[in-house]
């Protein structure tokens, strides 16, 4: 018998893609969130529109550990095609909820888990009319059963349904949805010992939090930063960023008198054109961005080099997915760290920002536009599928009304009157950043933009020294951004021998792993890097530890490689811990990886002393 595990367990729902289970799963997530319990939901979905298996994983943790866990206490198996796999994944002593309208093959039975059969299809056929409604309501009915088994508050569910189907026109939907909840709920109460030892109790942890995905958050950041031109080409998992930007533009960017839009959202013919549009708009003075994934960055690379060399502010959101090539489009990875840092041919280097959750997607989106204009260069925001498309519980976003965009060094017509002659690429201030003008603003401000070799005066050149002078300044300029990118998040422990370093969405898994690792007696300092080029603080952290374990989600240790290339830290001080199978990182990946690394360090030390 399982001991009571209140607000500390994980369950998973396996369904068929395209059957409407997403809204039921969202309802469960949001109900748990409203009950004040820290929770995370991971949508593990196929690259498919209808018919393939899809899962939704929910973990709740009173102590706030909401990284993905592969240990499931309960699985709702709604897809016969994955019964065997789903049943095998339930932890020993756990539960399997299935549709008992049809018998479950004896070969699938396990003795060490409890099978909870609910005749969902039968109930829905009896209570609802039409195939469509019967299929949809089956999902809502398992939500009802879960409500009884896990003690999800029915009033909270009802409240959410009322918000969705509140209008009189949708009254019948509210009624049928709640009837389906009741069907599942009452059946469970009648037939099982409810609630199970894994269950919910209301908390107050989410009072100042919201439930949001990173792409929505990034889009909101673009709106707040004053971006007016968005160019894109549809690609999973970035599409929902522009979808959200479109939605917010409809809410906030309509001129009241005319109904016209204060922004242009352009679906391009491909990623190359999306990059070109973004760069053209940045050149003409607008805050512009594109949103894509790794495959898109590959296609945009030629244009990225142009924006770097011609010094055109532009923002690129890379919502990373599993590569190489088409890879696994609906799985997550941090596989574009090196590509974005040096995208395009020739010598290039780019400012990169690495948000760790949706709140940082909002904040770093705003920072990206400021940095792009201040440094007159492309800026990358590297999010990933897990951050971008999954719902996260994060603190509410705040906005400082005193904020004004940092447009960088832009000369007005009046400014130009006061200087003898304007040269677009001349480093007047000695900080590597030249002045620019907005096309059309002044007869004195015209200049020629080119991706071909140019002198510091902006004219074409094939001269070695003139060419070198400009590219050296560009390197200097981008390196100086190290102190302007968001500082790393550092947590220090007294007497820590080792550093644990990570980036982006690994944060939750690493923090959870830290507790487990430190329970073993070892102490770690923690650093999550948020910007490139690396600041002095990053170097100092690495140099302060005899060994730094760099945790990331790609095969080739890209963050570690970048640290090796771009800091003076000795390679021996860096060791790699990786998971790159496409699912969000779990604490056990970190614990195991760190354990192996430190074990080998200990072994080497032992050999040396022997």
């Amino acid at each position: 018998m399982t001991a009571d595990r209140v607000n500390d367990f994980a369950f998973k729902i396996g369904t068929v893609n395209g059957t409407g289970s997403a809204s039921a799963n969202g309802l469960i997530m949001q109900s748990i969130f409203r009950m004040g319990i820290p929770v995370s939901g991971k949508n593990v979905f196929p690259s498919n529109i209808q018919g393939l298996p899809t899962w939704y994983e929910i973990r709740l943790s009173g102590s706030g550990h909401v990284a993905r866990t592969p240990r499931f206490d309960l699985i709702v198996a709604m897809n016969p095609a994955t019964y065997a796999r789903d049943i095998a994944e339930v932890r020993s002593g756990g539960w399997l909820l299935h549709d008992s309208s049809w018998p479950l093959a004896d070969t699938l039975r396990r003795d060490d888990i409890a099978f909870l059969g609910v005749p969902l299809a039968d109930m829905c056929v009896r209570h609802f009319e039409g195939a469509r409604e019967r299929i949809l309501m089956k999902n809502i009915a398992y939500t009802g059963a879960l409500a009884a088994l896990l003690r999800i508050d029915l009033d909270t569910i009802r409240g959410l349904l009322e918000e969705t189907f509140g209008s009189p026109r949708k009254k019948h939907l509210l009624d049928s949805n709640f009837e389906a909840i009741r069907l599942g709920h009452d059946y469970a109460v009648e037939h099982f010992d409810c609630p199970l030892p894994i269950r919910l109790e209301p908390m107050r942890e989410n009072d100042d939090s919201i439930l949001i995905d990173g792409n929505t958050a990034a889009a909101l950041g673009c709106v707040y930063a004053g971006a007016t031109v968005a160019a894109w080409y549809p690609i999973t998992p970035s599409t929902s960023l522009v979808d959200a930007f479109t939605r917010f533009s409809g809410m906030y960017r309509v001129e009241p008198e005319t109904g016209k839009r204060r922004g242009a959202i352009i679906q391009a013919e491909d990623e190359l054109a999306a990059a070109g549009i973004t760069i053209g708009a940045g050149w003409a003075g607008a805050r512009s961005f594109t949103s894509t994934s790794g495959a898109g960055i590959s296609l945009m690379s030629e244009f990225i080099g142009l924006a770097y060399y011609a010094e055109i502010p532009s923002v690129f959101f890379d919502i990373e997915r599993v590569g190489p090539s088409t890879g696994m489009p609906t799985r997550t990875q941090q596989g574009d760290i090196l590509m974005c840092a040096y995208a395009s041919h020739g010598d290039t280097k780019h400012i990169c920002l690495y948000p760790g959750d949706p709140r940082e997607c909002f904040e770093l989106a705003v920072a990206a536009f400021d940095l792009a204009e201040r440094y007159q260069t492309p800026v990358f925001v590297l999010s990933d599928l897990d951050i971008g498309m999954n719902d996260w519980v994060v603190p509410r976003f705040r906005w400082d009304d005193a904020y004004r965009p940092d447009r960088g060094k832009v000369l007005s017509d009046r400014d130009l009157e006061e200087i003898e002659k304007f040269y677009r690429y001349l480093d007047v201030d000695g900080d590597g950043i030249p002045y620019r003008t907005i096309p059309g603003e002044s007869p004195r401000g015209a200049y020629f933009t080119r991706g071909s070799g140019h002198t510091k005066f902006g004219t074409y050149t094939e001269d070695s020294e003139e060419y070198t002078e400009v590219v050296d300044r560009l390197l200097d300029k981008v390196n100086r951004a190290a102190d302007a990118v968001p500082a790393p998040v550092v947590r220090s422990r007294p007497d820590a021998r080792f550093g644990l370093v990570t980036v982006g969405g690994c944060d939750g898994a690493v923090r959870e792993a830290l507790e487990e690792l430190e329970a073993g007696g070892e102490r770690f300092d923690y650093m999550r890097i948020r910007g490139f080029p690396f600041s002095g603080e990053v170097t100092r952290f690495l140099e302060a530890h005899e060994l730094n374990l760099v945790v990331e989600q790609n095969r080739d240790a890209q963050l570690l490689s970048l640290l090796t290339l771009e800091t003076p830290v000795a390679k021996e001080r860096l060791a790699s811990v990786r998971y790159y199978g496409g699912l969000p990182m779990s604490a056990h990946h970190v614990v195991t990886g760190v354990g192996e690394r430190l074990g080998s360090v200990a072994a080497r030390a032992g050999e040396a002393s022997a």
């Binding site: 031109v229 016209k260 839009r261 242009a264 050149w283 244009f303 976003f397 096309p439 933009t449 071909s452």
Partner: protein
Amino acid sequence: MTYIAKPRVIHPRLEKNALGLTRRDYEGRMSTLCAGCGHDSVTAALIEAVWELGVPPHRAAKLSGIGCSSKTPTYFMSASHGFNGVHGRMPSIATGANAANRDLVYIGISGDGDSLSIGLGQMCHAIRRNLDLLYLLENNGVYGLTKGQFSASADIGSKSKRGVPNRQPPIDPVLLSLALGATFVARGFSGDKEQLIPILKAGIRHPGFAMVDVISPCVTFNDHEGSTKSYAYTREHYREVAEAAFETPDDFVPPAEEITAEIRPGGTRDVRMHDGSVVRFRKVAEDYDPTDRDRAYAYVRAHQEAGEVVTGLLYLDPDSQDHHAVLETVEAPLWDLPFEELCPGSAALDELMERYR
């Protein structure tokens, strides 16, 4: 772009346009293209067109891709903003620039390599958007900078300088533009400036994508016997059917006014554009209607079959509405909107946060 300094000679009696500027004010650096290059004649026609229209130089943006044609923005309008981008991708840069600032005059210069091979997709999609852009395609059937390979506009049987015949069918930008729904389609010849200037003027004033395909012979690689893009061949086979004169409006005609045009006997016809400009078609063939896309297509095709290069302003949609009409953007340039109009502020954010509870 490569250039050599041009001596600046200002004659006190040079003719001035409405802005008080002389043609010299619209010139650029000295061309480094080969002597006799058709592109330089096109540049000269363009300078004349913008001077006559009185476009303030700093309110124009000239954009190009890569290739001989794409070098030419250096050779005109030095006081304008220029953007020499990447190969075949000028249309996307122009799309972004135009999205950010709809008030500038956009002049795009491309060639047959830049437009019809590497940049074919971008060109087609700029046409679909009806981007407000003069798209000047300097067409010589050959890659010049890489020394004489056939381009996608080379005719079947046309011979390279080494005598090798081309065996692949050409892409005709005029027919392609007509098929894609372009709202302004013209063809000129670099050797006929008189015809080209009014076409360019009309193209600049046209509120939308103006495709101007100019046969512009390459004197170095494609001006020999056996080439169908040579001066001699073009002069012999070109058929001026729809010469257009462009007149700026004496008085502004409100956009709402109905556009009417009738073919007068004797073959001239006025088409009034929405900004009040008038395009007068002269020497219009009896059976030619420059506002009928299907007949324009059929006409160009029929003459092509007969071995003729049809030139002139071949099609014009007087009701053209540009990309901003599709985007439904505000009248003011987006780049210049006050931040207060763009940022919803903290109160709106606090309210919005409730939706994510």
